[in-house]
Amino acid sequence: MIQRTPIADALTYLLMVLGFILLIGPFLVILAGASQTLQQINSVPFHFLPQDRFLENASAAWSRANLGSAMINSFIMACLVTVGKVALSACTAFAIVFFRTPLKHFFFWIVFITLMLPLEVRVVPTYAVAADLFQPFRLLISALTGIEVSVEWNLLNSYAGLTLPLIATATGTFLYRQFFMTLPNELAEAARMDGSGPVRFFVDMLIPLSRTNMLALTTIMFVYGWNQYLWPLLMITDPAYKTTMMSLSALLPSENSLPDWNVTLAGSLIIMAPPLVVVAVLQRWFVRGLVATEK
């Protein structure tokens, strides 16, 4: 800027520091608490200085909440949701943008409407579908042929049950659609002239070109998949499939002795870490993706 504005600059720094205290402060409190002893964490006033007990607390939390298998399950779930979303979004957007088909607008709208109804408001019947996957097909068959079939299949306690209903919305399709629309028409024309078919064009040109979008969507979807709470709570009863979000309640301090919040905080820090790392590392793409998907 042309002006010299010392007062406004000082005010700006003051605001940024206040923002830091507000948004990063909680992390620092968690970090300090997670590294203290039982006596330190229960003392008033709160000690803001981190101590050296983090590893002990973390390993106590790890074994108390059985975080080993929960972390693996959450990781698998987040990865499946991410891969599923990215792959399906790219494919659908390809179909919508690069083909002349009467079904194009139908695809577009059927996908677009899914952005309006989150899982939380249709959770009851979605659960019913997951608990009895073939019900729609049974009804369809008996309506068409009059034959009652009794095939049943449920998705409870499975990775498919954890992920498929979450993949079934269209976030990401529009990110890809928008990107494909910005590509010059000549690109596809040239590919066609060179004799490469649509599939070849998709694999060899579009996929490599959309790397930025892919990273953006990957970040968003990994966070989304890792942070799922309600759906795993309903889908999973078998402890072998427990996710980290379900282990949170096991981390709560017991009521009858001096509450060991140091262990709880260390455990929640472990659970927070993977999406935090992903967002920190891929932040540049993540921001680009967010701003592009929603607008």
């Binding site: 800027m1 923002g19 019947p125 997951a130 935090l276 921001v287």
Partner: protein, 296 residues
């Protein structure tokens, strides 16, 4: 959109779109239709014969005072959460947009809470804002019973709103910063030449130009507050809807009613009302607020 269609195959696009379409039909449209059907029938959802009962389910829902309590709690939650995230996000975006030395680091840091799951944040905040230890213990020692979310519904509601706001402020911040950075530099520089200071410029030039972004965030954050997955997660893991129904938001009540009370028809009726409310909000926001928004 039309000019782009280069390839002529009719079956290939269907093949490419099919996996997503099938998943959406099975896990989105089928349940969405079922929710409509269940709301007007009385049926055991996993088999048995459904009986059409018209609006009876809705009558029962509306006659329940706890239902209206959950509507009020949801409204307060969504409104307070929206206002806080947008206002704080706006102030921080304006500050960071001035690009002073170090503002890049702050930008990087502000976004981080977005990565945290509502329930995990809820667990941590139960300690951070606990009445007996953490940050509020000293205040409570000086003024006994000043802060006790386990005892007072209003305090518990503040607690869950704080968690929601903490997590989502970085999100509104990203959009507002992106909006600010698309404001032409020449505009603010011209204003600076005319002698307008940074605060004047923020109020007279930047905020009005952000109107479309602000409007978009208003719609998004209200929806997020009402039906977002964090809303349920935060309430369920932090207060469990209590004390005394003080934090029982609408989504929490729906899940509770369906999976604890096994009242699927009532839960479906509540879902329908919730969907209607979201649509109404979006409509009102478009109708009355968008008029005042000037797109570039």
């Amino acid at each position: 959109m039309e000019k782009r269609a280069v390839f002529k195959s009719w079956w290939l696009p269907i093949l490419f779109a099919l996996p997503q379409i099938l998943l959406i039909l099975l896990f989105f449209y089928w349940p969405a239709i079922a929710v409509m059907k269940w709301a007007f029938t009385l049926e055991p959802p996993f088999g048995g014969v459904a009986e059409f009962v018209g609006l009876t389910n809705f009558d029962e829902v509306f006659a329940d005072p706890f239902y209206w309590n959950s509507v009020a709690v949801s409204l307060i939650f969504a409104l307070c959460g929206t206002c806080f995230t947008i206002l704080v996000g706006l102030v921080l975006a304006i500050a960071v947009d001035r690009r002073l030395p170090g503002s890049g680091l702050f930008r990087f840091l502000y976004i981080l809470p977005y990565a945290i799951a509502g329930p995990a944040a809820g667990m941590a905040f139960r300690f951070i804002l606990s009445p007996e230890r953490g940050l509020m213990a000293s205040v409570n020692a000086a003024f006994p019973d000043f802060w006790n979310p386990a005892k007072y519904g209003a305090h518990a509601l503040i607690l869950v709103i704080v968690i929601f706001a903490w997590k989502w402020t970085g999100y509104t911040f990203i959009f507002l910063l992106a909006g600010l950075q698309s404001v032409p530099r020449s505009l603010t520089e011209a204003a600076a030449m005319d002698g307008a200071g940074p605060i004047r410029r923020a109020i007279d030039i930047q905020v009005p130009l952000l109107a479309p972004t602000l409007f978009f965030l208003l719609v998004i954050m209200m929806t997020e507050g009402f039906v977002g997955s964090d809303t349920f997660g935060i309430v369920h893991s932090t207060t469990g809807g209590g004390p005394n129904h003080g934090t029982e938001v609408m989504v929490f009540r729906i899940v509770d009613e369906a999976f604890k009370g096994l009242n699927y028809s009532g839960a479906s009726a509540q879902s329908i009302v919730l969907i209607g409310l979201i649509m109404l909000f979006t409509f009102i926001q478009f109708r009355f607020i968008e008029k005042r928004v000037h797109y570039k």
